[in-house]
């Protein structure tokens, strides 16, 4: 059972690498952004997994009765804001991709490079 406690971190490592693969090995710019999205989500998963406390609950306190054990609120705060920042950067990236498509007529990396070389 001890080894199963690491499953979240393994999934983090695998997702991180799947995202990285899409970024470095795929030529399509939208695919690269999707990979970046997966990469970000993997980091979110790492933080939220670290915040978990066995037998705890969400960090929302009760005023009456016994205080409950709750998970660590700090990673939650960091990731909550990071998700919204993540979509803003993805939107910016997509806007750049759309502009590239309008200028070069393609969003494949190698085709863009050959067009730039021809100019």
């Amino acid at each position: 059972m001890r080894v199963f406690g690491l499953y979240n971190y393994w999934v983090f490592a695998v997702l991180l690498m799947i995202g990285l693969y899409a970024i470095i090995a795929r030529g399509n710019l939208v695919k690269k952004l999707l990979g970046l999205s997966i990469f970000q989500s993997a980091v979110f998963l790492l933080y939220i997994s670290m915040a978990k406390v066995e037998g705890g609950t969400a960090p929302i306190l009760r005023y009456a009765g016994e205080p409950e054990l709750s998970s660590n609120p700090l990673p939650h705060v960091l990731i909550l804001t990071a998700i919204v920042v993540g979509i803003s950067t993805i939107a910016l990236g997509l806007a750049i991709v759309v502009r590239i498509r309008e200028e070069f007529g393609t969003i494949e990396e190698d085709e863009i490079q050959s067009k730039v070389r021809d100019q």
Binding site: K31, G56, V77
Partner: protein, 326 residues
């Protein structure tokens, strides 16, 4: 035990979905899969006791981000070119890195270990002091807008900058062409989605407002509320067509909202300075110390909500309003 098994299944599905996203040659399929990926991720966060984060991921990842990707795909087409070469080098790099990362995890504390270093630093102090200093039950909101308001201000400014970047990139219009595609007209001719969608919009916005103003006592806050209200407004534009959507909130107003929210956040900070405290010190805002903190947090969260709504809706309109080439 059931939760653990469910968590395992969700995590495994996440990996399967991620592989499918990378492998599929059709970008439309990939975007639909990333929506599912986000929903699975939101469920995983919920199982890991992160209610606020799950709410944000569900609203942003599965909702807003999918719409933005589809808006972009409508402009650039959905097919990915096949590559000839086998990517042996990238595969070797990621294989080696994955192996190293997994090897490193054996030194990490097990999931949920209460004696892990991450739980020993400031987190117990936040959990202890929040009821006394802030008088609210949601510790995440108290840390976000109270204890660490500086961080949040920085994040809001990043969101504002990214939103402005999208608008500036699209400021230049492509040359008009003879065979251009007419502006997006929405689902006006589809009766059932339109009626059902219109019925949903008031409830979506109401839920957003509830999250905004009840975020101190239950999961919620400016980021989630902003995203959900933005989804409501975008749904209206999707149903009624881009011109009708733009008519209720023109770009001028949206830019005003984006900047206004950030200004409100900064204004609360400066008000604290003028009243004799330091920047983002809420204590001088009211006589009662706990009341002053709550007032400051409320105002700051409203600022966050306004900026997030403005940015997301403006980004959507920027994509939806763009003319398609060829």
């Amino acid at each position: 035990m059931v939760t653990t098994v469910f968590g395992f299944v969700l995590l495994t599905l996440l990996v399967v979905t991620a592989v499918a996203i990378v492998v599929t040659p059709n970008l439309f399929v990939a975007v639909m899969l990333i929506s599912i990926f986000s929903l699975l991720m939101a469920a995983t966060f919920f199982l890991l006791d992160a209610a606020d984060v799950a709410l944000t991921e569900a609203a942003i990842g599965a909702g807003m981000s999918t719409i933005l990707f589809l808006g972009a795909l409508a402009l650039i087409g959905e097919h990915e070119a096949r590559r000839r070469r086998k990517p042996w080098l990238p595969l070797a790099v990621i294989g080696l890195t994955a192996f190293t990362l997994i090897y490193a995890t054996f030194e990490k504390p097990r999931l949920g270990d209460p004696s892990a270093p991450v739980h020993q630093h400031v987190a117990p102090w936040y959990l202890e002091q929040t009821p006394e200093l802030m008088g609210m039950s949601n510790v995440v909101t108290a840390v976000l807008a109270g204890f660490r308001a500086y961080d949040t201000l920085g994040e809001v400014l990043v969101i504002l900058t990214a939103g402005l970047g999208v608008l500036l990139l699209f400021a230049q219009r492509p040359a008009r062409q003879a065979g251009r595609v007419p502006a997006f007209i929405g689902l006006r001719h589809h009766l059932i989605p339109r009626v059902v969608g219109q019925l949903l919009i008031p409830f979506i916005v109401l839920f957003g407002l509830y999250l905004q103003f009840h975020g101190e006592y239950s999961p919620g806050g400016g980021f989630q509320a902003g995203a959900i209200i933005a989804v409501g407004i975008v749904l209206h534009a999707l149903l009624e067509g881009e011109p009708a959507g733009r008519a209720i909130l023109p770009t001028r107003v949206l830019v005003g909202l984006m900047a206004g929210g950030a200004l409100l956040f900064c204004g609360v900070g400066i008000a604290g300075m003028l009243l004799g405290g330091s920047f983002l010190d809420y204590a001088p805002l009211a006589a009662d110390p706990v009341g002053a903190q709550q007032l400051g947090i409320h105002l700051v969260e409203v600022g966050v909500g306004i900026t997030v709504t403005g940015t997301l809706v403006a980004a959507f309109h920027a994509f939806a309003d763009r003319e398609r080439l060829r």
